[in-house]
């Protein structure tokens, strides 16, 4: 049924439909409305879960870890500093191969303090071994959340659902929420074989010497690569059951004759779609829009297929690795390396710390590739006039 819901409220409802046994969370802007709404669902008796209001994000992740190890369906949500405070636990959860789902309401990382959106937080835990899926709209965030519970059960890899803070979390949109019976029919109950059980006692999280450590990491990497297929089939299966997909690993849209592709994640994709619709006339030629949904595992083959034959690929980063440049851009460059007739790569950071990205960015980006003196990477929307000359 379609309802007008704020993004956070919709996520809380989606989580509730998946009936988690344990929810642990600590408030942080812009994730707060998610946990507030979950708390209210519990208070009203609409959600039966052990809701643990912890004293820090570090404990939120740790409580979810303990719950998952004990065989519970576990959920948490956070953002920004919270992701970083959790970082040690996030690596641990993934290393223990525990199934759980976490929403990240993407927000910039301090300093300077910013409560607004970018992707620095989830990028900082890129190598933790979690699956990271980016939602481009609130409907996608809702559907991806439900899918995430199934993916994590099937892969025993924890899943992070990333949605842009404020831009998605605080925006009200019509959302189609499935009924609980539909979700129950689609999402099987959690049966975690390695759960802690006095009748079959096992030790979890043991010391591993160099004799076994590389094998552990290798098997984790293999599991991540295998999860590419699970992410794709789960989305396809979801589409069959609920009549809409969230974009598998990535999706391509736009004029198939285009010689330029734009790769982006999250709500930026929506802005570019609007830009493409409204500013095509002003733009210097058509473009393909490549929406990357699965950031980890990174769909290298699908991306190569998507950009094959293009002259130029523009990669939009909503984060920066100071001293290197764009993070997504660097990874796309790695994927393109060695590809015959690889397109030229242009990388821009956009919208850092919540800087608004206007629809006109679509034509601006396409115009910029005509500039022969353009650097390989730029913070595209940085206003140099605001900086002293030595910092430009």
């Amino acid at each position: 049924m379609r309802e007008a819901l704020e993004g956070s409220q919709a996520i809380a409802r989606a989580v509730s439909l998946c009936e988690p046994d344990v929810v642990a969370a600590y408030p942080i802007t812009p994730q707060t409305h998610i946990v507030e709404n979950l708390s209210k669902l519990v208070a009203d008796g609409d959600l039966h879960t052990e809701f643990v209001s912890v004293e820090s994000e570090f404990s939120a992740a740790s409580v979810a870890l303990g719950a998952a190890a004990a065989g519970a369906r576990a959920y948490t949500a956070t953002a920004s500093q919270g992701v970083l405070l959790m970082a040690e636990v996030l690596f641990n959860i993934a290393g223990l191969r525990l199934p759980m789902v976490m929403t990240v309401a993407n927000r910039a990382v301090s300093a300077p303090l910013s409560i607004w959106n970018d992707h620095a937080d989830s990028m900082a835990v890129r190598d933790s071994g979690w699956i990271q899926l980016h939602a481009a709209s609130n409907q996608e965030a809702v559907d991806t959340t439900i899918q995430a519970f199934r993916i994590t059960q099937q892969t025993e890899l924890p899943v992070m659902v990333c949605m842009d803070g404020f831009i998605l979390t605080h925006t009200m949109e019509p959302i189609d929420l499935p009924s609980i019976d539909e979700v129950r029919a689609w999402l099987p109950p959690l049966e975690f074989d390695r759960q802690l059980d006095p009748e079959d006692p096992r030790s979890v999280g043991m010391l591993v010497t160099p004799d076994f450590f590389p094998e552990v990491r290798h098997s984790h990497h293999t599991a991540m690569r295998k999860s590419l297929e699970v992410i794709e089939t789960t989305d396809a299966d979801f589409a069959q059951a609920f009549g809409r997909a969230s974009g598998g690993l990535l999706t391509v849209e736009g004029d198939v004759t285009a010689r330029v592709g734009i790769v982006a994640m999250g709500s930026t994709v929506g802005t570019l779609q609007a830009g493409m619709a409204h500013y095509a006339a002003e733009a210097a030629g058509p473009a393909l829009l490549i929406k990357l949904r699965s950031y980890r595992p990174f769909p290298a083959r699908a991306l190569r297929d998507a950009v094959r034959g293009l002259d130029t690929v523009i990669v939009i980063d909503r984060a920066i690795s100071p001293g290197m440049g764009g993070i997504l851009g660097t990874e796309v460059a790695a994927v393109l390396a060695g590809m015959p007739d690889a397109p030229k790569l242009v990388n821009h950071a956009l919208g850092l710390g919540g800087r608004d990205i206007p629809e006109t960015i679509y034509s601006d980006l396409l115009a910029a590739i005509r500039d022969p003196d353009a650097p390989a990477f730029s913070v595209f929307d940085a206003d140099m006039e605001k900086l002293p000359p030595e910092d430009r």
Binding site: V22, E50, A64, A70, A72, V89, V204, L207
Partner: protein
Amino acid sequence: MSDETRLTELRQKFGRQPAAPDETTGAEPTPREAQPRFRGLESGHRACQGCGEALAARLVMECAGPDVMVANATGCLEVFTTAWPESAWRVPWAHSLFENAAAVASGMEAAMKARGRNTKVLAFGGDGGTYDIGFQALSGMLERYHNVLYVCYDNEAYMNTGIQRSSSTPHAATTTTSPAGRERMGKRHLKKDLLSIIAAHHIPYAASASVAFPQDLQRKVRYAMGIDGPTFLVVHSPCPLGWRHESRLTINVARRAVECGLFPLVELERGSLTNVMPIRDQRPVTDYLQLQGRFAHLFGDDPRAQQKRDHLQALADYNVQVYGLTGAGPDPADTGGAAAVGRSGVAAGRR
């Protein structure tokens, strides 16, 4: 299945059966071997000789198990019991990180609640993981009233990393990060009074125990296991390597810590003192200190040595006074440490 039936089945499945007479010699098993027992922590692990923590953990597991699950902080106990692919644990056991044992235990307990199970959750940490880095998670667990027994094996320094001072290290003790030298006489600060902070959470039960008094320790574990709510036990556990005493002296050293008043054995319910183990004749603290190399600098020619000894004696006397360890006069029920003597409160009434 009732809890009792389940417990019996688990004990039969994982417990040690009484030993039979030796097949070749026909020798009868010792009374200890003849006793069917549950051993949650098996022998064969890699702890040092005389390890107080290994002994304490075995004693706790004997009466807590087998219907439990354990969240274990990083530390010696985790390392010496579990190098993959071997494990000394006969109960479900999980190690996550150094500072989150209490939070992981909270999650396990929430899972048990959500899934309608009665398995009791235990959390184990050393003093570093409890007094210091895991302190916040512990406070949160107590405040949220999780049904978890948290046991701190207190060996008064970061032993797993090679003997560095913690907030539990006693005043004037040397560690590798509080060495004695021309300018310093070991640790400059006091041992944190953790139990008082725990008691300030007004949890149902908090107590201190010692490996030198196993019956008392096990009575406290059993009592805590029967409580539906957060309980806390700190167990004084000598570390021969870190305290620099002979391995065979572990029990002696631990006993003297209690007998001199430096490590009082007390019980608190809802934040109020309900029971103490009395000291019949208070030993001078030097009886305790001189067994350990970590206090060796307090027995040299340095004029500051006497000062430090006096300071430690004053701390012990303070404990004796505030906890009433010697009582007002001769106590007819005093067993000289064989068992704690109840003076008031629920704990005393239950025994």
